[in-house]
Structure formats: structure tokens, C-alpha cells
Symmetry: C3
Subunit: 313 residues, 3 copies
């Protein structure tokens, strides 16, 4: 199949074949990152705007580097100094970027649906870099890429996602991607943050962490985001750590070939024991490296690339 | 004629021929923005510094993209993290940028005359990107470009500028450009903000909005800048909107081929009705697109380009 | 000799030959800055990350321009919007940048030793752009370059450094570089800020400014950093200016060919008289220009360049 979408707004609307196509393209780009000269001219003369209405460094830099390596020009537009603060609507900001001949807008926004909204009001490719608690599609793609790279497959694997599922865009995008690709997904965390309604998506829900991790091939730990946590729904940090952290006792009981994932930035000693984060079965930094390749693939495909065959890198 | 200036400090000191030369050069660059690869190598190896001592996103990004498309390197220098905060004088900051072999400084500053001052203390091309209430020359050039593009001419047109004229650098630069190019300029707004002294420049001054717009070929609405408005001189927003906003009633009475302009960011429902901002006679987004071409032309000419003939794009 | 280090962490551990090699390489790069097209492709496809955990404009821009002129890609990572604020450790931040295939990290940090720490935890070249009160090696290299350029040699010269020596990373790096290159170094300032312990490094310490400057070939004035000054150790500004400023009376008594240096940004009227800062014997702006060449040399050498012979610019 060939890629035909103009936007990457979510994982929910992608087919398994489309996801696989992104992963295959990313694999070709990963090789570029290992060469002495890490650039290809695929997006020469194109302009990527990082429209980050919510602060981020990690994702912004990953997209910025991905664009650089495709030889695109990048402009960073952050909320701190922006006209959004002067009362301009998001639609007007985006239409201005379109009028400046931007080719792609990478948007992070605290409101779920903001990227979808943008895609309807501008004639520019829109990439969702995280919208509220809704989706963070490139994170799910890089997670899937990492699982496939390390395990050789995704289908049939047991993947456990641990933490604040309810308010996590990472969890939501991962659930969609993993289920589409044939994994079994178990969600675990405090009952206020992991409601039974997720069973309707096809996941297993449990509040017993030991049960959640015992058969897992992949354990994906979400970041406890103090700054976003709703106080009424979240136990205190110490209690969370006692009940849900991947500590050494729990780590000793998981499958010997289970892999540990985390979208970062990690809170050492909170959701994960510090030594476990650095152990050989942690693929946290592989995720970061793969994120660059996945974002190059996404920028390439949305700009009219058809797939890895056409790439020739 | 050939371009011979080193700086673009204001419109007041330009001749009509010089303005036309910028517009002709911008026309050639506008075609570049419509190609698949939007870059030309005209400024390869040159360094443009955006020295924004007053916050701005729109203008900064427009200059940044213009420089990218000419293959220049761009460095952003904003006041938030700058040595200006450590008590360095503006002259010393600029001379440091000169010592770093910067080729052009694009300066926005709250003090009128700051760009002129810089041009006397450094041997680098200086571009005024807005100085206090004084001038914003590239805005006037892109407005003139847009009028000429849409109407085929500027001479003899009736242009009405509506809003806070007294404190507006956009108004001041527009008045100079339009009068030099042969338009008739009418200024309208609250009497505290549109004093009769502007008649000495050759404008018509009125405080009656209906009279101001009835014969206008162009209606240029200025942004109501809450953050800068002097309270003693400005009615409240509701009162301003009642008296001076371009609402549907007023819009129904303007000439059928009159065009609506606005330097942005727009306050929907304040100085302009939201639907009018988006209607077919609004050229607000054309202004943004043309701003990129005009700024490419300005960077090109100040770097030693002679005019569109030499450009060959 | 050939360059063989992977990091530039301090001056203390460099040999005189290594320092000379950087200066020789910088001399070749200075010629690049005087050409119409100031770029060379030496670092094409390489990524330089400016990790500025302490605010800076001057040094950040100098490194950014140096990287641009070597055709590297540059990403700015400042503390204001960074994941460090979300509680990520410096080690994790750096390992993430490594995972993103960054080739070099330029770090400024308020903690002495932060660059050394980074160099042990990541497999990426680390450049110290100032760590606490410890070292600022590229500043010392550009100062040495400037002295050698202007005086033809460093060996045997009398260099006086004036100001807050105790808390100055600029002073510490300069002392190491100058002593290694054979200069005689005199330190002067209030006794609380210039303790006798510096004599153990091989410097002369005096609290009498007239004696400190009378035989100096070079007078290097440090910036009085109000924002960092410990109140218990610092006289008030007026008292400092009276006792230690390079004013006209003192300037009249220095050697007729003595040169005035300052790392900038200068406080006119505090540590230096405004006219003296601008006089023909001040090489303050030469330092800025040379800083660019020195930083190009450092980036080039750390990326595997062997020396100026190989450069061929």
C-alpha cells in the first residue's frame, strides 16, 4: 500500500497497514541516523512550524531534529511569546502560518481535538504532537517501532501499561496502536485513574499490579505528572510508589525477557526504581532514538512520500 | 533605478521610486514562495539577527522565514534571556552582534528611533521591524504591495485607516507610503487618538466612521492593543466597538469593491466583525503572504541586490 | 601534534601545545569569517545542542553562529521550557540528547563540574560553556588568541586581571591558560574577592590597583555581576568603582601599549570608564570576533579535526 493521508491526527483512525507503513519507513530512516552525515534532502525548501501551545522540550527537539535531518526549515512558535497571548484565536494563528507558506504544522495543545480542528481550517499538513488527554500518535508509533524492533513482532504480545491511564494521551494512543497490531493490552493503576470503561476498547483492566505484570512481555510505565494530576483522583506520591512503582521486588517476578518502556521524562524512584531504568532490559533510550526515525518517517510521508521503497536511503 | 540604501529605517525617507523598487522585487520573490522548493541561495553564508527587544511572534517568524528562504542563517535574540537585561546598552549589544560578523540586524524596540540609532553605531544593515509608535516600514510595504496587487494601482485610491492612529507605527508608515504613492488617505477614530495635526501630513481627519468609509477603496483596520492603550485616551472596548468597529451594518454601506485590510492579530468582534474578517473582500491573509515576499525583497536589496532584474528567480 | 581530545571541559587539563593548536586552528577559521560566504561544510549533518541551564545570550549566540558556519544543525535547549523543570536529572536529559544522535553538547550550568559529569555519562562530545565559578575555557582561549594576535606572543607578558577573581570562571580559566603559555599573571581586587591562596597557582596577588596595572601589558577587567555577588564579600558599587575601576586617572598611568580586555557585557562607568572601553587600546570587540573563530576551532577539533593543516580553508 501507499501512504495517502495529509495529516497525522490520531492513531484511532489509522489502519494496521498504515501503522506498519510508518514503521517500515521509520526503519529506513533509522539507518540514516547511524551514518556520519545524518541528512537527506527529502524536504529541502519545506517549512515545518512547531506550534507548541503547551510547553515541551523533548518532543519539540525530536521534531526539530527530524525536520533538520530531512533538510527542512524549522520555525519554533511557543506560547510564551506568541500572538495567542494577545487574544488571537488558534484558527487565526494557524491560518497565518498557512499564509506564510508553512508546509506542516506540528501542534501540541492542552485541548483535546485541537489538531483535528486545525486540519479542518487550514490547507497545511497537521501533526498531532499531543492534544490534552486525547492522543499522542507519534509516541505510540515510536513505542510500536521499539517493540517490533526488539521483539520481532507485536501480534500476540502481552503489553501492560501502568499508571494514570485516564488522563494519558500516551496510553490512549498506545492502546489503539497495540490493539490494531494484535497485542493483548492490560491496563493497571489506581481505580480512579484506570476505570473499567477501558474494557470496552478491548483491554484488560486490573488494579492489582502484580497480576498486571506477571505475564507481560512489555511493561510501559507512564510518567506521574505531578503538575497535571487531579488531586481528588490521585493518591499521594508515596502511596502511588508503594502500590504501583516498578521496584526491585516486582521486577524480580516479571518474565525474564520482559522489556521496560517509559515515554520520559522519568521520575526516578517514583514510577520506576532508578537501577531498573538503567538496566539492560530497559529500552527507554531506544524509544528516544526511534522517536527521531518515526518523526522523520511521518514528516516524509505527510509531505507526499509514498513509503520506504520510494525513499532509497 | 537601482537600490542603494544600506538600511531600512522608515518609509518617510524613501522616495516613491524606492518603494516601487521594493514592491517590484517582492513580486519576483512572491513567485518563489509558490514553487515546490521555496529557497534561493541569494544570502547563503549571511547571518541575520532578529533582535526583538519587544515581544513579537508574527513579524519575527515572517523575517525568520524570509531569511531561511534566501538561505541565510538566522539567530533569534529576544529580550527575555538577553544581556540587555544585565544592563548592557543597546549600542554595546549591537556592536557585539557586529563583532560576531552579523550581516543584518532586524530590530523591534519600544523606543522610537532605536533602529536609526543602531544604524549610526554599527556597520551592519539595520531593518526597522517596529520602533515604538514611530514606524513599521515593512508593514507599510506589504500593505502597499497588497493594494497594488489587488487593485492594480495605488495612485488615486481612497484609503481609510481606522483606529488608534496616534500611537500606531503601522498607521504612520502607511500614511507615508500611501501619500508618496499618490493615494488619498483618510484617518478615523476617537478624537483623542486621531488628532487634527495629522492633516499637516496631507491626510483627511474625521471622527465620523460612516463618512470615513463611504468612499473608501481600501479600509485598513488597526488592531486595538489593549496592552498598550493609554487609559486616559481610550474609550472602553464596548464603546469603541459601537462607534468604530467595522460591523455588518457599516459593511453593507461601503463600496462593493472596497477591500478590508488589517495588520493582525485581529480581535474578532472588537475592531472587526468576525464574518467580515473572513469574507471574500478581506485581504488580511494575503497581507501575511505578501509580507514574506516583501521581507525577502528587503533582505535581498539591503544585502547588495540591485532590483528584480538582477534577481533572475 | 594532532588534537586527540573528545571534550573541552577546562583549561587546567590542557597542555600548552594543545592550547596553541586551538589558537592556530582558530586563526585559520578567522579568515573564513572575513569572506563573503562565511560557511565551510566541515560539520555538515552534525548536530550541536546548546544546553543552557543558566541564562546566556552572548555565549549561546557565539556557539550557535560558530555551528552554523561549520554547516552543523543547532538545537537550543534552555532551562525555561525544559524537562529539567519537570524533575528530570541532568544525566537523563543528556542521555536523551545522546539518544537523539546529538554529536556535541555545549553546556552552561550553575554547578561547577557539570560538564565533567556529563562527559562521563554520555558518549557525546561535551563543551564547557561556563560551569559555576569553575571554568569557562572558550573564554580563556579567545582571550589568549586576542593577546597573541595583538602582541605577537603571550610568553613573558604581564597580564593583570582585575575584579571578582574568587567567583569568576573567566578568571580561573584565564589564569590556567596564561600561566601555561608563559605569561606573568597579577590578580587584583578587594581582598575578600582576591584571596592570597591564588599565589599557590603561581599568580601575584595585590589589592593595590595602581601597583597591579603599572607594568601590565594586558589589563583584563572582569564584569561586576550584581546578580551573583555575595553581599557579605562585596563592597557597594560606588566604593568598588572608586577603588578598582579603570578610570581616566588610572588609564593615564598605564604603559602606552597596554591593551584593555573585558569578557563583556561591560558595565560602563562601573568597572571601566565609558570612553576607555571605546578607545583604540580596548580590544573588547576583537575578543567577540575572535570568540567565534575559537569556537569554530573547538567544534571542528572535537568533531575529529586534527588541526589547521587539515582544514584547508
Amino acid at each position: 500500500m501507499n501512504w495517502s493521508r495529509k495529516h497525522l491526527l490520531d492513531i484511532q483512525s489509522l489502519s494496521a497497514e498504515e501503522i506498519q507503513l510508518v514503521l517500515d519507513t521509520a526503519k529506513a530512516f533509522k539507518a540514516v541516523g547511524e551514518r556520519a552525515i545524518k541528512k537527506v534532502p527529502a524536504l529541502r525548501g519545506k517549512t515545518v512550524v512547531n506550534l507548541f501551545v503547551e510547553p515541551s522540550t523533548r518532543t519539540r527537539i525530536s521534531f526539530e531534529l527530524a525536520a533538520h535531518r530531512l533538510t527542512a526549515d524549522v520555525v519554533n512558535f511557543s506560547v510564551e511569546s506568541s500572538s495567542l497571548k494577545k487574544g488571537e484565536t488558534l484558527r487565526d494563528t494557524a491560518r497565518n502560518l498557512e499564509a506564510l507558506n508553512a508546509d506542516m504544522i506540528v501542534i501540541r495543545h492542552s485541548a483535546a481535538g485541537a489538531p483535528h480542528f486545525l486540519s479542518r481550517v487550514v490547507n497545511v499538513s497537521v501533526i498531532n504532537a499531543g492534544d490534552g488527554s486525547h492522543e499522542h500518535p507519534t509516541q505510540a508509533l515510536l513505542d510500536a517501532f521499539t517493540i517490533r524492533e526488539k521483539k520481532g513482532r507485536i501480534e500476540g504480545l502481552n503489553v501492560t501499561i501502568l499508571g494514570d491511564i485516564l488522563f494519558s494521551r500516551v496510553a490512549r494512543s498506545n492502546i489503539w496502536a497495540l490493539l490494531k497490531l494484535g497485542a493483548r493490552v492490560t491496563l493497571c493503576g489506581p481505580s480512579t485513574l484506570v476505570p473499567r470503561t477501558f474494557e470496552q476498547m478491548g483491554c484488560t483492566v486490573t488494579h492489582n499490579v502484580d497480576r498486571a505484570i506477571e505475564d507481560a512481555d512489555i511493561i510501559n510505565l507512564l510518567r506521574i505528572q505531578h503538575e497535571r494530576q487531579r488531586k481528588t483522583m490521585f493518591p499521594n506520591i508515596g502511596e502511588y510508589t508503594n502500590l504501583y512503582s516498578l521496584n526491585k521486588t516486582r521486577f524480580a517476578r516479571i518474565k525474564p525477557d520482559a522489556l521496560i518502556m517509559h515515554p520520559g521524562p522519568i521520575n526516578r524512584g517514583v514510577e520506576i526504581d532508578s537501577e531498573i531504568a538503567d538496566c539492560g532490559r530497559s529500552v527507554i533510550l531506544d524509544q528516544v532514538t526511534n522517536g527521531l526515525a518515526v518523526r522523520m518517517a511521518v514528516l516524509f510521508l505527510l509531505n507526499g512520500g509514498k513509503g520506504p521503497g520510494e525513499l532509497g536511503v
